[in-house]
C-alpha cells in the first residue's frame, strides 16, 4: 500500500486552494538501475478530486509527472468543513484514497 497523501484545502478569499502531495515513484520505464536492467514503468494514471460529494477534477497523468507528484487546484463555492476526497490509480492497479476537510 502506498503512503498516505497529504492534502490541504484552505479558503483564500472567494476560492479554495487544494494542494495534494502523493507518494509515488512515478517510474517512466526508461530508467536503468545500477545493474543496467530497465526499471519497469510504474506511475499514476488517473486521479480525481471530489469536494462535498461532487467531482471537481478528473485528471489523467503520464510518466512525465515528477516523482512524488504535487498538484494544486482551485475551486469556487467550497465551504469550510466540506469534505475533500482524493483518489489515484496507477498502471499496476494500485490505488489510494485519502480525505481532508476544507479549512
Amino acid at each position: 500500500m502506498a503512503d498516505p497523501m497529504k492534502i490541504r484545502a484552505q479558503i483564500k478569499g472567494d476560492v479554495a486552494e487544494i494542494r495534494i502531495l502523493m507518494g509515488h515513484p512515478m517510474e517512466t520505464g526508461q530508467r536503468k538501475d545500477a545493474a543496467g536492467a530497465t526499471v519497469p514503468a510504474h506511475f499514476i494514471q488517473s486521479m480525481t478530486v471530489d469536494v462535498a460529494g461532487k467531482r471537481v477534477v478528473d485528471g489523467q497523468i503520464g510518466t512525465s509527472v515528477s516523482r512524488n507528484p504535487v498538484f494544486g487546484f482551485k475551486m469556487k463555492g467550497a465551504k469550510a468543513g466540506d469534505k475533500v476526497v482524493v483518489n489515484w490509480v496507477d498502471n499496476k492497479g494500485d490505488k489510494r484514497t485519502d480525505e481532508a476537510t476544507v479549512a
Binding site: V15, M26, T28, Q30, R31, K32, V39, Q45, S46, V49, V51, K54, R55, V56, V57, D58, G59, Q60, I61, G62, T63, S64, V65, S66, R67, P69, V70, F71, G72, F73, K74, M75, K76, G77, A78, V89, D90, N91, G93, K95
Partner: protein
C-alpha cells in the same frame, strides 16, 4: 529445451489482455468498469506533440493571451520542474500540459467541473531543454500557450 519464464509471462499477459478486450467488445464489460481503462493511452503514449494533441482531440489550436503558463526560464533539475497553468477563458473545461521533447510529450490532462477554477499547478520531469505547452479547451475550442524551459540536468535518464 529450456523454458524462458519471462517470455511465458509476456504471452500470458497478452492472452488475458486479448480476452479482456473481447469482453469489452462483446459489451459484457463497460470500459468504465475496468481499472484505469479510461486512461487515454493513445494520447499519453504518442511520441510527438502532434500525436498527443490528436489524442486529446485538439486537432486545431489557436494561441491565447488568456491562457497563462508559468514555468521557470531555466530548470537546474529536470526531474522537478514546477508549472502553473491558469486559463481565464470562459467555459474552460480542461487543461493539458505537454513537454515537446519528452519521449511522450503529454504529461497531464485535467477536466474541471462543479466550481473548479481552470488553474492547476504540478511538477514535471524534463529530459532536455524544450518547449512546454499548455492546451485548454473552452466551449469546444482549443487554445495554447507555450514557453521554453532550459534544462541543465535532465530528469528522464535518472
Amino acid at each position: 529445451m529450456e523454458m524462458n519464464p519471462a517470455r511465458r509471462t509476456v504471452l500470458r499477459g497478452a492472452g488475458s489482455l486479448g480476452a479482456l478486450s473481447a469482453l469489452v467488445l462483446a459489451g459484457v464489460l463497460k470500459p468504465t468498469a475496468v481499472y484505469a481503462a479510461d486512461w487515454n493511452k493513445a494520447a499519453f503514449e504518442a511520441k510527438d506533440t502532434a500525436g498527443a494533441l490528436k489524442g486529446i482531440g485538439a486537432a486545431s489550436t489557436s494561441e491565447s493571451k488568456d491562457l497563462m503558463l508559468k514555468v521557470p526560464d531555466i530548470a537546474e533539475n529536470g526531474a522537478v520542474v514546477p508549472v502553473d497553468v491558469t486559463c481565464n477563458i470562459p467555459k474552460t473545461s480542461s487543461i493539458s500540459i505537454l513537454v515537446e521533447k519528452n519521449p511522450s510529450p503529454l504529461c497531464a490532462h485535467f477536466e474541471f467541473a462543479n466550481g473548479a477554477v481552470a488553474d492547476v499547478s504540478a511538477r514535471l520531469k524534463m529530459g532536455q531543454t524544450s518547449l512546454v505547452k499548455a492546451v485548454a479547451k473552452a466551449d469546444g475550442k482549443f487554445y495554447t500557450a507555450q514557453k521554453e524551459v532550459k534544462v541543465t540536468v535532465g530528469g528522464c535518464g535518472g
